[in-house]
Structures are given as structure tokens and as C-alpha cells.
């Protein structure tokens, strides 16, 4: 099934043009320096990298919020250029996103029910009753109940809010879900619950994930393929096992070494190194 590619990026470049003050010189920041990758249906690609390496810029381009400065983006084989074409409802429905901070990603003045039905209202032809039923179903699927439908976001915990955010992303039945560090703001026990929920949903809806993270243990758990970014460039791209077993680039090696490890061998080796 190698032909079933859902997302393909060819040489994506993103530049930010800023000026230093009103009469200052224009400054060009290259946030992405030619990124290429492809993603198969039903798989998970993890994007790893430090802060400021262009992960979020990539997420903004893939969710069709910002256009790329150069390069091509193909979703299900169709080239997409939001600089030229107006975004259609069908296209809008294909890619959705879940954000890192569950406290900032829900509108504090919007009830959970409205959070879930607003995308349906704007992108589908369902009537009010259908939207309501569909949103209720989705609430149950992400592990919340119909009784939460009329509550405001401030009444929920971080993990529950992230479930709401996932439900909002899924009501449009997207093909591709961008997960922008979806668990890094949650504590460990809740992280595991959310990751399991994501794995279950991936199976149920045949979803494709692009998982942005800096937590390598999470990446190892969820990813099929791994892409390591460094200053806007891809320095490593391959299957999970290949990247974890045999990292090629210096940065990747440094990154793996920086991960705290708790096994006895590793601690002994470190202590030996410290005492010698």
C-alpha cells in the first residue's frame, strides 16, 4: 500500500518578512528551509526538534492557515496552494489540529456543545438536531459524557479539555490530524490516557497523525516514522526503529543522549565516567 500517500510535502520553504521599526531594513527569517516528506494513510509521523526549529511553522502550513513561501503541498494527491485558491469546505475538513495548551485552545466564552457544533455548522449541511446528536456521540467517543455538553471549558481539568479539543478536531472527520505537542502540558498519568485514546481513535477512524513532540519516550511509543528537525531543516528522516537504533546526524545523537535514562547500566556508566 505504498501508493496510498495522504500528505506529501515537496521542498517547503517559509520566510517571515519583518522590519526593524518603521524605516528599518527589512529582515528575512527563514523558518523552514526546504522540507520534504510524505505520509501514508493510517500511519503516524513524529516530528522532533528543539524550540524554534520550525515545528509550529510547519503545523501552520499543513493546517492551511499560513501559506508556504515556496514549495508544494499535496493532500491526497491534489496540489494545494492557498495563496491562489480559496479554501473549500471539503479541503478544510481534511486536516485538523490539536494544540499543546488545553487551557488556551478552547474559547472561554463558548460552551462545549458550541465548540463541537461550530465546525459542523460552518462546514457541513447538517441541521441543528443532527449536529447536536453527532457532537454528543463524539463526546462519548473521547471519554466524556452527554452531561458535559452544556458546560463551559473552565469547569474541566486539563486532560478533559484536551479530550474536548480532540473531539472538536474529529467532528469534521478529518483524514489527517496534526497533534502539536498534545500531551506535553499534561501530567504523566493523564498523558498515558490521552495517548491511548489517540491510538484507539486512530484505529477507529483510520486516521493519519503528524505528531509534533520533544518528548522522545512519547515518540517511541506512538510513532511509525520519525523526522528530526534542526534550524528549519530535516536532519533525520526514517522509520522509528532506524532512527532510534542508528541515528546518523550529530544533532540526533545529542538529542538522544540528552534524554534521561533510568536503567541500571546507564546509571553505572555515568557514575563511572563521573568518578574517573
Amino acid at each position: 500500500m505504498s501508493g496510498d500517500t495522504i500528505l506529501e510535502a515537496r521542498n517547503l520553504v517559509r520566510e517571515y518578512h519583518t522590519k526593524e521599526g518603521m524605516f528599518g531594513k527589512p529582515v528575512v527569517t527563514r523558518a523552514l528551509k526546504g522540507i520534504s516528506f510524505s505520509l501514508e494513510r493510517g500511519k503516524t509521523l513524529a516530528v522532533v526538534g528543539e524550540s524554534g526549529c520550525g515545528k509550529s511553522t510547519l503545523a501552520r502550513i499543513l493546517t492551511l492557515i499560513d501559506p508556504a513561501t515556496e514549495g508544494e503541498l499535496l493532500i491526497e494527491g491534489e496540489p494545494i496552494d492557498i495563496r491562489k485558491d480559496r479554501l473549500t469546505r471539503e479541503l478544510r475538513r481534511k486536516v485538523q489540529i490539536v494544540f499543546q495548551n488545553p487551557y488556551g485552545s478552547l474559547n472561554p466564552r463558548q460552551k462545549v456543545g458550541d465548540v463541537l457544533t461550530e465546525p459542523l455548522k460552518l462546514n457541513t449541511d447538517m441541521n441543528e438536531q443532527q449536529r447536536r446528536d453527532f457532537a454528543m456521540d463524539m463526546l462519548v467517543k473521547v471519554g466524556l459524557g452527554p452531561e458535559h455538553y452544556n458546560r463551559y471549558p473552565h469547569m474541566f481539568s486539563g486532560g478533559q479539555r484536551q479530550r474536548i479539543a480532540i473531539a472538536r478536531a474529529l467532528v469534521l472527520k478529518p483524514k489527517l490530524l496534526i497533534l502539536d505537542e498534545p500531551v506535553s502540558a499534561l501530567d504523566l498519568s493523564v498523558q498515558a490516557q490521552i495517548l491511548n485514546l489517540l491510538a484507539d481513535l486512530q484505529e477507529e477512524f483510520n486516521l493519519t497523525y503528524l505528531f509534533i513532540s520533544h518528548d522522545l519516550s512519547v515518540v517511541r511509543y506512538i510513532a511509525d516514522k520519525v523526522m528530526v528537525m534542526y534550524f528549519g531543516e530535516v536532519v533525520e528522516y526514517g522509520t522509528r526503529d532506524a532512527v532510534f537504533e542508528n541515528p546518523q546526524h550529530d544533532y540526533t545523537k545529542t538529542l538522544f543522549n540528552a534524554t534521561p535514562r533510568a536503567d541500571v547500566e546507564h546509571i553505572k556508566a555515568r557514575l563511572a565516567a563521573a568518578h574517573s
Binding site: 501552520r60 493546517t63 492551511l64 492557515i65 469546505r89 478544510r92 486536516v95 485538523q96 489540529i97 494544540f99 499543546q100 495548551n101 488556551g104 485552545s105 478552547l106 474559547n107 472561554p108 466564552r109 463558548q110 460552551k111 461550530e118 465546525p119 460552518l122 462546514n123 452527554p146 452531561e147 455538553y149 452544556n150 458546560r151 463551559y152 479539543a165 472538536r168 469534521l172
Partner: protein, 299 residues
Amino acid sequence: MSDASIDVKAETRLDLLVNFWKHFRTNKGAVIGLYFFIGLILVAVFAPLIAPHSPIEQYRDAFKAPPVWMEGGSWKFILGTDAVGRDILSRIIFGSRYSLFVGVVVVSIALSVGIFLGLLAGTFRGWVDTIIMRIMDVILAFPSLLLALVLVAILGPTLVNAMIAIAIVQQPYYVRLTRASVISEMSREYVMAARVSGVRTPRLMFKTVLPNCMAPLIVQAALSFSTAILDAAALGFLGVGAQPPTPEWGTMLAESREFILNAPWIMAFPGFAILITVVAINLIGDGLRDALDPKLKRS
């Protein structure tokens, strides 16, 4: 199912209100101000029933009659009469109508136009932002009363024109406040989430972002309500606001200033009316700010 959901909804709305009142109540001054303001509204609404005389009827036998507690005063004219024999109490009661009217109209115009311009500037940034904000800076560069005076001089001296002029003068504060809130809200993740779920810019501006910017605007509206009343009185005093015989408080002050030495009550009572009203509304505004600003909440 639907019954349960309606219950939850009602509860949350009520909770918000109860919570707000709990914070507002701790500020004694604001509560007193609120009671006075409610009293003022009742007086304005029922003015024809409360007032003992017509505000423009002249009693030829009682020019400059002193108030009841001074020598020569009578219960017929409790606060005395002015130089042409009109009952001051009745005029002040009817004058409250004009003051509230001025406050409501000026704040509504300034608030609605200010929110709209501020939203445009904060959402689109770039040249739209530059044009709107530079115009607002120009308005701010003039002393407010002077600018209002010039505008009324151009438009013609009536109460309606005075209100328009005051609304224009107060505009920049609303625009700046809205723009600042919108810019800070626009960078939040829920706005990006709304964009991804297909919310287009107009809906994003009015339905997603605006409700989250309302708290400082409500406070500003309450505070500028009193400024509007004061400015209208000032314009009336200068003779370019409401024209005689309208019982507007500022105009009453202006008419009576030549009698300040031999009949000071004619000038004192409208002055007190302006003073107390403005203080009361400012107290309410302070209370609102404390109750609505999450940073000042102590809970």
C-alpha cells in the same frame, strides 16, 4: 435529556451573575453609587409625577425665592426659584432626564463605533491599523473640551450636536482599548483553532474574539458615562449645548451665574446635582472594574 441540559445552562448563567455580585458587593462605595443611580433613573422616568411644578412655568410673584430652610422660603418652592420665577427642584428633576439621555446616547455611539473601528484595526493590522490609529491620535492630540466646542460651533449649538461632538471626542479611548484587547486575544490558540475549523474573519471578529474583550470595555463605558454628563454640562454652561429654557443642569448653571452673590442657591443646586451624579457613576465604574478584572479578584 434536554431538560437536564437546560438546567445546567441556567445554573451557569446564574453562577456568573451571583459571582459578579459577590465581588461587586464588597465595594461599599460602588453599592451606594448604584443605589443612587437607580434612584436617579426612577426620578427621570417618573419626573412628571414627582416634580411639584412644570419646569418651564414662571411664577411672576416669586422671583429668586430662597429655599425652604432660609428666611423667606416657603414649602411651595422647596429649593427656591430662579431669576425668572421657575421652581428649581422641578427643573433639577426634569434635568436628570437630559443628563441620563446624554450619557446613554454618547456612550452607545462611542462604544459601538469604537468597538467596530478597534476590531478592524486589531484584526487586520497593517495599513488599516495605521490609518485608524493615526486618526485617533489626531483626535487625542486636541484638548477634549476644546475639540467638542469647535465641533458644536461647526454643527450648530443644540443638545443633539453636543452629544455627537462628545461621542467623537471620547471615541479614541474605546478604539485603543478594543484594539489592544483584540491584538492580545488574536494570538491565543483558540483563535487559531477557530480558523482551522473554518471560521471566517467577520465571525471570528464578532463572535469569537469580541466577547472575550468586553470586560475592560464595560468599565470604560461606565466611567465615560459620567464624563459625558460632565462634558454636556460644560458645553451647556458655555452656551453651545442645550438651549434655554431646557432644564439641563449645565445650562441652568450658566443662566444663574450672575446671581451667585445675591442668590447663590440658584447656582448651587444644579451644581450639586452634577457633582453627586458624576461621583456616583464613577464609584460604580470603580466597583465594576474591581469585580470584572480577574487580576484583582481575591477568591
